[in-house]
């Protein structure tokens, strides 16, 4: 009783601290904790809660110190341990969390709770070996089956990590452990059988797995629907037992004639049997049939008959399924690909496609279905087919639009339109005809809009396609001509649709792309917000905006964007551990490995890397207005987040590049290549940025004599000077830039629904990489001269020539461009953004040079005074650098002016006549709105650019020699 009441008192005393922590009143919590500790100075749990409050108040040094003291006392009561666990999770010291529980478990080896927590602590660390040992000792003290299987799963995870020992040691051990358990008659849950199957699969023992499935243990697998059959098919496929597979797929299709994967499997097994000339009589393979099962189909004729029968059965049903018809087309396609003439006996493909259209033209998926098979027709065949279905849909000539009877008619009409585009019949149209077609499509949209059923979302989505295809046509023209007026026209169409149907995400996505072409990022951001992209979508859809954000100088928005992205990744990568733990707890063993892989997928996401590096660069670009600030930023970067160094091989492309609809056959054929090219470019650009951060950071550290971390850039076993390390990272950047120079000389043209290019090519072509390298090299040179006390007359000239002169030329070119070509404003904007960024980097490098030159100069001046050689001149390097700082300030001023000058230049003639005071028609209203959005966006760009340059001017002016 005495102990119990003691516990109660403790609980009561801690309660206010917990409450404050829960409410986020950390100061209050700290006070409460101190109050308790005054009464009871050795109260461990109160101490830990105090640490938690301190940590949350940002006093992590104090917090760590107190926490270490408690840790060393090796507490073993659960409340204290739990509080410690929270602390360690928040400060990412999962190793210490495990250590704390490990200490406690030694003192209280019988405590199930502590041992379980220790197991989970190792799960967090991904320490599979210790997981295994802990689970086994847990099982020994508390013989509960789940603990035993935790140990087995931990062994399976070790097998995943060590392919060498996987099949010789880990998996056989895991198998033996399960078998022993089975022999003891202890296996009773589904999770255990599922884990047994995982082990057998990993070992490639499919035969045995099949036996388990068919036996008593298999009977326990009940919750997951179709698991039996799915597993059976998987194992038989692995063992290439095609006759049985064929029989099973056939049987499944009799039950469900709309299951695609069964048709796939049926055809695959069929062709294996046909190709090997298999018959039941010559069968060497094991071919067992259950009672009542029919034979396998091992001839094409039999398969045709089977499919025809499926169609006949289907036709009589109340709601015919698409499956059998598509299967017939698929069989035709596969036979034709294999050059097997029997395809002719299936039927005439044009007729099959037509009858498919007849049956399913009221479904939205009709286009997608048919698009897979129109390639079976030749050029003339396609035209005939389109003409035929065109007549059915009263598609008519483009000079006459049909009166839509109802939405079914619209759907038919749309399918014909989609297929027409897909078959490439739009490509040969002249620009004038395309413009005409755009107008017709827009009229079709308006007409269909009138007869739609207002609350049915699918209706709206259907008719939006008219506008989308119209805009795709306009973008075809834009690709040929680069004429900005068609982009404006496209935006006008889409904004009009958007007003009527603000829900269709395809319209929003396309608008983002079009505004990007204009360089009006503000409008992109607005549309992106309306998409309500959140959570994982930040990883999969962030690419829609992230390349254009900094390209067009929306620096402030970029910061917010990357901060949100980073929060998502940091939070969820941490959280993933909790779900891996859950998977163990609920015995969902198939999910353990899946979750671990998914976590890696997030950690190695391209977007995560981009967000980290971009954020670091933005810090250096935006806020630095003095060299002290730059030093501060870099030291914070180094100590808090570390300098980013990605594992380029492991990097994942999680972008959902297929999200935008395309009706182009060409695009669908090349989408894979586009994705690959874009990913490669993204990685290369990320590497440029990542190395740039490292170079800048190294330069700053070198000038302030802080040791530069090696980060594996040189061997680790020798003492390297800062100069060595700095030179090495500069070399890395230069050689990477050279590789990029050759690999990305010519970029692939991406279509409007594809990804956007990075800034890489402009960065290289417009010599920003060269400027950066020149500046870094000159800095190193100064450092070496300073070390050796050598005066070099050419130092300043070299620096100036390689940086200032090039930038001056860039600015002049940008100004010329603006004067010459009224359509080049997005490009000019992107150009001056690059100049702005380069000036920012140069400011830091100048700061570094200044820091090295200043003491050198004072030193010389002192010497001179001592020797009394008043007449000896100081080396010109000092005056040259003063000139360089001044020139950069001058360039910054010019760029600021240029950024503001772009705004009036981009007014387009047809928009100039519109004034807000006039009474506007709807069309004018929309045009005015678009115009305002674009102008505002350019103003924002100018504003962000000028803000940065103002700081750079201040930075550069503070450097005096």
């Amino acid at each position: 009783m005495a102990t119990r009441s003691h516990v109660d008192v403790n609980e009561r005393r801690l309660r206010p601290i917990y409450d404050c922590l829960d409410n986020g009143s950390n100061k209050e919590a700290l006070r409460e904790a101190d109050k308790v500790l005054k009464k009871q100075k050795d109260f461990q749990c109160a101490k830990v809660l105090k640490c938690l409050a301190l940590m949350r108040l940002g006093r992590s040094d104090d917090s760590q110190e107190f926490l270490k003291a408690v840790h060393d006392q090796q507490p073993c009561d659960e409340a204290t341990l739990q509080a410690m666990a929270i602390c360690y999770r928040e400060c990412d010291r999962l190793d210490l969390l495990a250590d704390a529980y490990c200490n406690a478990s030694k003192k209280r080896p019988d405590s199930e709770e502590i041992m379980t927590a220790l197991f989970m602590a190792y799960v967090r660390l991904g320490d599979y070996k210790r997981q295994q040992l802990t689970a086994m000792s847990l099982f020994k003290s508390k013989p509960k089956t789940p603990y035993y299987f935790w140990a087995i799963m931990s062994i399976v995870m070790q097998a995943h990590c060590d392919p060498k020992l996987s099949k010789t040691m880990y998996l056989p051990l895991a198998e033996r452990m399960v078998v022993k358990h089975i022999k003891d008659g202890k296996v009773d849950s589904e999770a255990e059988v599922a884990l047994y199957l995982i082990i057998l699969e990993e070992l490639g023992k499919y035969d045995e797995a099949l036996c388990v499935l068919g036996g008593e243990l298999g009977g326990k697998l009940v919750t997951e629907l179709d698991m039996h059959i799915a597993k059976k098919l998987e194992y038989l496929t692995k063992m290439a037992r095609w006759p049985e597979l064929n029989v099973i797929y056939r049987k499944q299709l009799k039950k469900d004639n709309d299951s695609w994967f069964c048709y796939e499997g049926y055809f695959k097994s069929l062709f294996h049997l046909v190709d090997t000339g298999w018959t039941p009589a010559n069968s060497e393979l094991e071919y067992s049939l259950d009672e009542g099962e029919c034979q396998a189909d091992y001839t094409i004729e039999a398969a045709i008959e089977f499919i025809n029968q499926a169609i006949a059965d289907n036709q009589s049903s109340e709601r015919p399924k698409r499956g059998p018809y598509l299967a017939r087309l698929e069989l035709y396609k596969q036979l034709k690909q294999k050059e097997n003439t029997l395809y002719q006996s299936i039927g005439e493909v044009g007729i099959m496609l037509e009858s498919y259209f007849d049956m399913f033209c009221r479904k939205q998926c009709c286009f997608r279905d048919l698009s897979q098979y129109v390639c079976l027709l030749d050029g003339t065949g396609k035209k005939q087919f389109l003409q035929c279905i065109g007549e059915k849909a009263k598609y008519g000539e483009w000079s006459t639009l049909p009166e839509f009877e109802n939405m079914h008619h619209v759907q038919q009409h749309m399918t014909v339109l989609q297929l027409t585009r897909y078959c490439g019949l739009h490509t040969d149209l002249s620009h004038a005809d395309k413009h005409l077609l755009v107008q017709h499509l827009y009229d079709a949209f308006e007409q269909a809009y009138k007869i739609r059923i207002a609350h049915v979302a699918t209706d709206m989505q259907l008719i939006d396609n008219y506008a989308i295809i119209a805009v795709h046509l306009l973008m075809d023209i834009y690709c040929d001509t680069g004429d900005m007026t068609v982009v404006w026209r496209g935006i006008e169409i889409l904004e009009n649709v958007f007003r009527k149907a603000p829900t269709d995400f395809q319209v929003k996505l396309l608008l983002i792309k079009l505004y990007s072409e204009l360089g009006a990022f503000g409008a992109c951001a607005d549309m992106y917000d309306r998409l309500e992209v959140k959570h994982l979508q930040q990883d999969t859809l962030g690419f829609m905006v992230c390349n254009d954000m900094t390209r067009y100088g929306h620096f402030g928005a970029s910061c917010t964007f990357y901060d949100t992205t980073l929060r998502f990744f940091n939070h969820n990568i941490k959280e993933m551990l909790e779900y891996i733990i859950s998977a163990y707890k609920y015995g969902s063993f198939t999910k353990v490995y899946e979750f671990v892989k998914f976590k890696e997928h997030l950690e190695n996401s391209l977007n995560y890397g981009l967000a980290m590096v971009s954020r670091l660069l933005l810090d250096l670009t935006m806020d630095c207005d003095s060299h002290e600030k730059a030093e501060e930023d870099i030291s914070a970067m180094h100590s808090i987040r570390g300098l980013y160094d990605a594992d380029w091989e492991k990097m994942n492309d999680n972008r959902d590049l297929d999200i935008m609809v395309s009706y182009s056959d060409e695009y669908q054929k090349s989408s894979h290549k586009i994705a690959e090219a874009s990913f490669k470019e993204e990685k290369a650009w990320l590497k440029v940025q990542s190395l740039s951060v490292r170079c800048l950071a190294s330069a700053v550290m070198m000038s302030s004599d802080v040791p530069i971390p090696l980060n594996g850039c040189l061997g680790e076993d020798k003492d390297f000077t800062n100069e060595d390390v700095f030179e090495s990272v500069t070399d890395n950047l230069e050689s990477h830039l050279q590789i990029c120079q050759t690999e990305f000389r010519q970029l692939m043209q991406f279509p409007i629904n594809g990804p956007r290019h990075t800034k890489l090519k402009a960065f290289l072509d417009k010599k920003h990489g060269q400027v950066l390298i020149n500046a870094l090299r000159a800095t190193l040179h100064i450092k070496k001269c300073q070390n050796n006390g050598i005066e070099s007359e050419k130092l300043g000239e070299k620096f100036s020539h390689g940086t200032v002169d090039i930038l001056k030329e860039r600015v002049a070119k940008a100004r010329e461009g603006l004067a010459e070509n009224k359509d080049c404003y997005p490009e000019v904007l992107a150009d001056i953004v690059l100049v702005t960024e380069t000036i920012s980097y140069l400011a830091i490098i100048c700061g570094v040079c200044h820091k090295m030159l200043k003491p050198w100069k004072s030193n010389l001046q002192r010497k001179k005074k001592k020797k009394g050689h008043q007449e000896t001149k100081l080396p010109s390097v000092f005056s040259s650098f003063s000139e360089i700082f001044k020139s950069l300030v001058q360039i910054a001023k010019e760029v600021s002016q240029l950024a503001q000058d772009i705004i009036p230049k981009f007014l387009h003639e047809e928009f100039q006549d519109i004034h807000i005071e006039d009474h506007l028609t709807e069309k004018e209203n929309i045009i005015h709105e678009i115009h305002t959005k674009a102008t505002d966006s350019y103003k924002q760009s100018a504003n962000d650019i000028c803000e940065i340059l103002k700081r750079k001017i201040k930075y550069l002016q503070s450097l005096r020699l």
Binding site: E224, L225, D258, K363, R368, V456, M576, Y579, K585, D656
Partner: protein
Amino acid sequence: MTTIRPFTCDDMFKFNNVNLDPLTETYGLSFYLQYMARWPEYFQVAKDPSGNIMGYIMGKAEGMGENWHGHVTALSVAPEYRRLGLAEKLMKRLEEISENKKCYFVDLFVRVSNEVAVTMYKKLGYSVYRRVIEYYSGDVDEDAYDMRKALSRDMNKTSVIPLKDPVRPEELD
């Protein structure tokens, strides 16, 4: 033409075409992971022949005693694949799983304004059990129908006898 299989983590990288639809909510990762860890059998995805996600269903089994039931947490089909009977197919599977688990009934919540969905559920044998006031929060809060369908274990169909008075979300068990 469909392939239905268990939903896996990687499917989340590709479910935008379903989730960008305004009536479908995208939840935090933890939400999906919790379902995958705990009720993996109840989380199914339907794919088309090219591997595009057509729709998915997520659900769970919960409740004590005669309240042991299957619950439909989310059901969504991408616009392009609607009117193909896919939702029905996914619902039937969820009911079958719940039958295997010996549940008494299956229930779900739906916005009272979502006529299309309410009609579909009625066609599948669901009926309104009660109305939940302001269940959905938003610019304007909206009521939900709590709809139920009895399974074979509930022989007298007592689980679906409608309640007369609406309830508030906090009164839900």
